[in-house]
């Protein structure tokens, strides 16, 4: 039986997810432009795996398939996986990661809306722990044409060294650590000098910075559409820039600039698309600030001092852990109970 209210605003989960997907398009376009169409293959692979995994789980659990598949949330997860993984990982890695994300991290917790962890980021962390070598091969912009990308994705033997290097983020950190070492030939060089190579662009990695800009654009559109609020992207960027800037100001020879941090790796994607996932993120305004600021600081810490190339994924998971406590302790005072 239906009770009041009898009228509703026209809004649906599907619409929300669709707009998130649309907002990813500029970033993807830049990605294709600079790094080749291989990413599209990965997106297709991940999407197919996500839909298949979701459908299978829904069938097993006896839930209506058409209804839940049409919410598009699985596709969003799939796209995020494809966009955070190196574009030339073998197909089985993408598929396994996506299935893990959908089946274990999402559906075992009850499906949409109930998973405490971001499925895409959990899959990323699992894979980078399990296959650190494969997950660290990033081709430089324009390095590989489409056919060799296809061959890497679907082909057999890989000649790791010949293909690619690390991400600019990782490379710069390695170089900076080397520069601190008196035995290295790079000793004494500063970040700005180290960044003078062909792999770097104006702000971050060559090409990567444009992709980041694309995501920024999409993110701003989401903000304008009121799908997300400013709290999470704002606090994340600020915290990342502030923590990077602090150490950069103290020891410019040892750390990359805040701008580099913002423009590289998964920072923009994380700020606007990953951390803003409402299911696994904090929900109160103050909680969002805390959550995103924590993620920003952790991202920087892991990038600068940790063992993994990028910190966004781990930072997201770590902050996901804290979400219940953050939400619980940042509830806004309710009507009539505010202190004036």
């Amino acid at each position: 039986m239906i009770n009041s209210p009898f009228v509703r605003k026209a809004a649906s989960v599907q619409q929300v997810m669709l707009q998130v997907l649309l907002a990813l398009v500029p970033g993807i376009a830049a990605y294709v432009w600079f790094f080749g169409a291989g990413i599209l293959v990965q997106i297709a692979l991940a999407s197919a795996a996500a839909v298949a995994g979701e459908a299978a789980m829904l069938a097993v659990r006896g839930k209506p398939k058409a209804l839940f598949l049409s919410d598009l949330s699985a596709i969003v997860t799939a796209w995020l996986i494809a966009l955070t993984f190196p574009p030339i990982v073998p197909w089985w890695l993408t598929v396994t990661a996506t299935l893990l994300a959908i089946v274990v991290v999402k559906q075992l917790y009850g499906g949409l809306g109930q998973n405490p962890f971001n499925p895409a980021m959990a899959a990323f962390c699992l894979m980078i722990v399990a296959y650190p070598a494969l997950m660290s091969q990033w081709p430089a912009a324009g390095q590989l044409d489409f056919s060799s990308q296809l061959q890497l994705i679907f082909g057999g033997a890989r000649q790791v060294d010949a293909i690619s290097g690390a991400t600019p983020l990782d490379a710069l950190r390695t170089a900076l650590r080397a520069a601190a070492n008196p035995d290295s030939q790079l000793h004494g060089l500063r970040a700005a000098q180290l960044m003078d190579g062909p792999a770097y662009g104006m702000l971050g990695g060559k090409g990567g910075e444009w992709v980041a800009l694309g995501f920024l654009l999409g993110g701003l559109w989401l903000l304008q559409r009121r799908i997300i609020t400013w709290h999470i992207p704002g606090a994340f960027c600020l915290a990342l820039a502030a923590s990077a800037g602090l150490l950069w100001a103290v020891r410019p020879e040892g750390f990359a600039s805040p701008v580099f941090h913002l423009a590289s790796g998964g920072a923009m994607l994380g700020a606007f698309f990953i951390l803003t996932d409402p299911v696994s993120g904090a929900t109160t305004p103050r909680g969002k600030l805390l959550f995103a600021a924590g993620a920003g600081v952790l991202t920087f810490v892991i990038r600068a001092f940790g063992a993994y190339p990028d910190g966004v994924a781990f930072a997201t998971l770590l902050m996901n852990l804290c979400v219940p406590l953050i939400d619980m302790n940042t509830q806004a005072p309710v009507f009539g109970h505010k202190k004036d």
């Binding site: 039986m1 839930k63 209506p64 398939k65 058409a66 209804l67």
Partner: protein, 183 residues
């Protein structure tokens, strides 16, 4: 070997003394647990659990003599609360102790009652009023629905009637999940 023995003995002695002192210093009187269990029990005092009242049952649970699934009036929810409180696993209601029924009150058929006072004595909460050879009646507000008055009645004039909803007791139902129908 001797050293080892000596060392262990010394350690044991010191720690033993410490423990002994602590157990005297921090002695606890009474069992606060019984109160908490009793607070969960529905207080029908029906004895279906096999104990003469709710508090004895609570005491038995606290001391581990009784299981948590022996209270039909408390129902599944009561068992769940007890399981929560005691950190035990939930189990379904023990069948030998009865089944969960809708809440009812006893009603005395005033034309049949002979005023024998047997039910008055059986009632654990003094919810039946009347005196010898006087007609008895149940004070519905006080009746816990324990059914203890039914068996003693020599003329079978007591019946259980489910409580009827009024505007004050009417409840909104759990919203029906419509996902299934839509598929």
């Amino acid at each position: 070997m001797l050293t080892a023995l000596l060392v262990m003995t010394a350690v044991a002695l010191v720690l033993g003394a410490l423990l002994g002192y602590a157990s005297l210093k921090f002695k606890v009187e009474g069992d606060p647990l019984v109160e908490k269990i009793d607070a969960i029990l529905p207080q029908t005092q029906c004895g279906q659990c096999g104990f003469p009242g709710c508090r004895p049952y609570a005491t038995a649970i606290a001391s581990g003599e009784a299981d948590i699934n022996q209270c039909p009036p408390g129902g599944e929810e009561g068992i769940r609360k007890l399981a929560d409180l005691l950190g035990r696993e939930f189990k379904s209601l023990s069948e030998e102790h009865g089944v969960e029924k809708p809440k009812s009150v006893a009603v005395i058929d005033e034309n049949t009652c002979i005023g024998c006072t047997l039910c008055i004595q059986a009632c654990p909460v003094d919810a039946i009023v009347g005196a010898a050879k006087q007609l008895h009646t149940v004070v519905a507000g006080e009746c816990t629905g324990c059914e203890l008055c039914i068996a003693p009645c020599p003329v079978d004039c007591i019946a259980m009637e489910p409580i009827v909803d009024t505007l004050d007791t009417w409840k909104w139902r759990y919203p029906v999940i419509q996902i299934k129908q839509a598929a």
